[in-house]
Each structure stands twice: as C-alpha cells, then as structure tokens.
Symmetry: C2
Subunit: 343 residues, 2 copies
C-alpha cells in the first residue's frame, strides 16, 4: 500500500513528547523545499499540508510568476504528522504503530515544523505561512505559537478553532469508515483494508467538499467526469482508496476535530485571547460556499486579530476552491497572496 | 422491532402495479384522520409523512386555533409506502419482502393516496396539500398528478425534483448504513440489525439536518442535550435505532433520490413542464439555512408555477425548521398556512 514518490527529505526529530503526553520515539518529519534560502534568511515561506494531502498536492500554488515563486522565495512544505510520509500510524514501528499511534495536536505539528525551520535552516523569520484546510489550521497555529517569527499569514478555507458543526461532519466520516467490520478497531491487515468503509467515506465527503451549486451546475463535467456516479466513484472513492491508510485518516481527523489555538500553552483554552496575541498581518480567506468552514466563522476570527482582514473566494467550488482544482480560484488565491507579500 | 401505536386505519389497496413495473399484491395504506369531513366534502387537507416519519410525527402542526384546525378541516395523514406502517419491506410477506421490496416513486405514493381520498371518502377537491421534506415532495406531486383537485399547496423544506447535491448527501447516508456487514445486503435477521450502520447514519445525518449556525450557537442545549456528543448519541443515534428498519430506510431513500415531478406520466421527464401544469396556488416554503433543500432551488421551482410564491423560514434550524422542534418556526409555518388557506 506504499509506493509513494521519494522526492523529499527527512528531518530526524528524535524523541518527541506530544501535548497529550505520549512520547513518539525516533519521530520523522518529511518535507520538501522549493527555491533557495537567501543570504540573510528572510525569504522563507512555510506551507503545510492538509487532510490526507502530501507535499506534492501543494505544488499547484507554487511556480514562476506566482506569489509562491521559487525564484524569489524559499518555500518549505512540511508533511503533517499522520499523513503517511512524516511519522504516522502506517510507518511507525511498534508499540506506537497503527491504532496505537498517539494523539497529535496542531500545536504539536507546528512545534516540530518550527524545529525543522530553526534547527535545520537557521531561519528566524518567516515572510509568510499559508495553507489550505488543515493547512490553514496549522497557519493559524504558527501565528499564535511563534508570533515574533511570522510576518504574514494567509489561512485559506480553514479555521483557528474547529467549529462544532465541522466536528459533526467529521463524526460522519469517522462513523462511515469504522462501520466496516474489516477496520477491526484499526488492526486491519495490510492486505485487507476496510475498502467498503473507505468508499463510504468518499460518498459522505462528496456532499461536503463541494457546494450545492457545484452539483446543480454539474461542474464535475468540466473536470472530466461523465456523470454524477462517475464523479462519486472516479474521484471520491478513488481518492480514499489511493493509499489513504485508515489509521492515518483517523489520526489526522483527531487533530482536525481538536483544532483550537486556545489550547496553545499559555492561553488556557481561550481562543479569543490566542487570536489577540497574533502579531502577523493576517488575511483569512474562506470560500463563499464552503460548507464546513463557512465565511462567517473566519469573519468572527479576524475580528479579534489586530492586523486581520477577511477576503472571500467567490464561486461554487465550496471547500475545494482551495484545492487547486480550477484556475479561477487558484488565480484568486494567488492574487491575495501577492497582495499580502507586497505589504 | 415493532410495538408501534395502533391508532390508525388501514385502506386495503389490493394489487398495486407500481411505476417501475412491480406489482405489490395486497398492498396497504395506513392513515389517520383528524376532524370531520363536511357535508359538501370541501374541507379536506392531505398532509403526507416524511423520511422515516409516521402520522403521529405530523401532529405538532395540527391543533385547535392552528391553520390545520380539526374543528374546521378534515385532515388526512397518509403514511408513505415504506415507512413501516403502510406496505413496507418490514411488513410485506414474501416474495416482495425486505431487500426485495420494489422501487416506489413519489408518483406511486400519490396515486395510492388519491385512491384513499376518492374511494374511501368520496372527496373531489382538496383545500390544501402540505408536508415537510419528503412530505413536500409528495405535495408537489399531488399538485402535478391532480391539478384539478388541489386548490392550494404548501411544500415546506422540500423540492419537486431532488437535486444532485441532495442525491449525494443521501449516498453518504446509504453508504454508511450498508458499510456495516451486518446489513447482509438487506437480509439481516430481525434480532441482528446493523446497529453500527444505523448509528453511523445518525452521525452522517446530524451535520446535514441542522445548520452550521445551529451548532455554533449550541441550540441543542435548548433541546435538553447536555453536550455535543449527547446530542449525537441521544438524538441522532437514538432516532435511527428507534425501530427504523434499514430496508424501510433504503426504500424511502430511493423514493427521495428519484424524486422528480417530471417523471409523472405525460411529462416525459420534463420537470419545468410539470411545474407549469400546476393549477394550485403554491407557497413554496424552504428554510433559510437548509443544507440539502436550499431556498435557491425552490425559488427556481416557483418561478415556473403560474400562481407560485416563495417564502423562507428564517433562522438557524436548517432542515429541521420544518420538523416541529421549536415553537418559533412552527408559528412561522402555521402563519403561512393560515395566509394560504385564507386566500
């Protein structure tokens, strides 16, 4: 179930004690960089991955002439713990393997990324942190965990505290996956994955990932799918069957459900206090019809950020406006990042 | 798995040939009436049930001083085929029992209700047809199948053609239920229901049934639930575990997914042509934040109805604005029905 590209580096984290108490011994952070770090180390950008995404899934937003131009910036894409490349249920030796992989918070994710950035590269300032979805959650976390370091932040289609509705959406995903008896409490064999549950996850996710108007307009036809069912099987079931290890999915899902920058040490659970501590210039960038990260939530969040601004990606693509699937939304996001980097 | 109240009548339908070709022999329509039919038989209202609802689940909108006042009107609540009281997978003898129960369309539902209304009661005109959700689908179908008979129609939180997004939402529900191996293709034992799948259905449904803002405001606390998880277990899992036979759920789900008044004989699949044929005064009444029957869809539909009007139930309750769960929305719906009946 592996066979991933090997175009990345590993940063050896050693023994990492996580926020919830477990120690992940010999932990690894997989990452890839684009461009060159300049002499005074001021051109670095961190761009974390999203739920089940890998570094190569972020590359659509990187390119010559784009905001994230490797000719100008040193772009670091760290893979989230749990995504199958960094330490994850699927690649950790016993006893913390598979269903026993520990709980990882957004705070934990960013602490390890901070070590990569400072220890390996000697970077003390970040021109920008940005990311989609759970990448946006990590972006918010960076701005709270390291306020002196993050100059600018653009979380797109995400949140600084996972809303209760979002938690419920993810409960549906989790319940569909684990309803398959082949899941076996996470102790499935590598040659007997709970594929019925993974396909069910795809079908549950499909309604949430895009908007009502996306389906009304049958935009999936523009993507090359020949019918609604073809879209459900070809894209959604295919997505989750493509080496998405179920325990990895549940590890990342736990991180997502428990997202809250208020749980950063020193803030005692106070989400608003954490927002107020941010020093970065922040443009929060939700998508107009995102069904689980609605613009209202980010409007609330930026209202508590000293140098915070809200912009909204227009259109029918819902959450996947931020996934790089269509050129219009990509251009919009790129334009916002250019504005932000120019400020 | 039975033990339902027996406060209803049965209309013997005999052998019913359904739109998709099966003949359901000895079919039965369970119904209940409220109030008295007047001498000239002009005060009848039909108020069909919704997805997994039974006649008693409609009673919140019936009462003295309300629009549906049994002191003034003769209100007939027919139970949908598939709901467990009328002919359903759970109560039909072999060979059309359980997983082999035939496909039933909205057209089929209304044809049988029409027989009840005309053959049993000799009614030739209906003052009103109204219903929530799939009840709204039946309301639209009544207005198309029997345009000369339906004076007024108020479909609330529903549609005349199931949108593709709605179909996808239901695919998630179906996939979660059938991911449980105990479902056994519909041939589960009566003492071994796929309860894991039913609980998963509850969790998938929970995100859709209410709005993002409902959860943001923790409105479930006003309903007596002590936490988010208490709401998920206490209401949602409990709902689907409460004698909701899985095959019945899938029968009704098929009806819902295939909803389209354009498939009424004579319209050749043309949804708009069917809308244009409606003679009733129609108030379509979606809820502001309904996630699967968004107001835009009903706005489109009424634009093709000669005497059509759109009103929108305001607030955060999403689809369940129409479920009778809160007095504000109930008063709003009742007010609209009063306006409509006075016209």
């Amino acid at each position: 179930m592996d066979g991933f590209p090997q175009d990345f580096e590993i940063f050896e984290l050693g023994d990492v004690t996580l926020q919830h108490g477990a120690t992940l011994r010999g932990a690894k952070l997989a990452y890839k960089t684009y461009g060159e770090l300049n002499a005074d180390r001021t051109n670095a950008i961190v761009y974390p991955t999203w739920y089940s995404g890998r570094h190569w899934d972020n590359e659509w937003l990187i390119g010559e002439g784009m905001a994230l131009d490797p000719g100008k910036y040193f772009i670091i894409v760290p893979n989230m713990l749990g995504n199958g490349l960094s330490s994850s249920p699927s690649n950790t030796p016993p006893p913390y393997d598979r269903a026993r992989f520990p709980k990882v918070t957004f705070y934990d994710q960013v602490e390890q990324q901070h070590r990569l950035v400072t220890e390996r590269f000697g970077i003390e300032t970040l021109a920008l942190v940005t990311g989609w979805s759970m990448g946006a959650g990590q972006t918010w976390q960076w701005a709270v965990s390291h306020p002196e370091m993050v100059q600018r932040a653009c979380p797109f289609c995400g949140s600084s505290k996972t809303s209760e509705h979002n938690i419920v959406f993810l409960e549906g995903v989790k319940a569909a996956l684990t309803a398959d008896a082949a899941f076996r409490g996470g102790w499935y064999d590598d040659d007997a994955w709970p594929t019925t549950g993974l396909r069910a996850v795809g079908r549950v996710y499909a309604g949430w990932g895009l908007s009502q108007a996306f389906y009304w307009n049958q935009v999936y036809r523009e993507m090359g799918y020949s019918s609604l069912e073809d879209f459900l099987v070809g894209l959604w079931e295919g997505f989750f069957l493509d080496r998405r290890d179920p325990n990895n999915l549940l590890t990342m899902l736990w991180t997502w459900q428990n997202g809250n920058i208020g749980n950063t040490p020193g803030f005692d659970g106070d989400h608003v206090k954490a927002l107020r501590s941010i020093k970065a210039k922040v443009i929060a960038l939700p998508a107009e019809k995102d069904l689980y990260f609605p613009p209202e939530d980010e409007e609330y969040a930026v209202s508590h950020v000293a140098d915070g601004e809200l912009r909204v990606i227009p259109g029918v693509w819902g959450h996947f406006a931020g996934g790089g699937a269509n050129p219009t939304d990509t251009a919009y996001i790129d334009g916002v990042l250019k504005d932000l980097l120019a400020s």
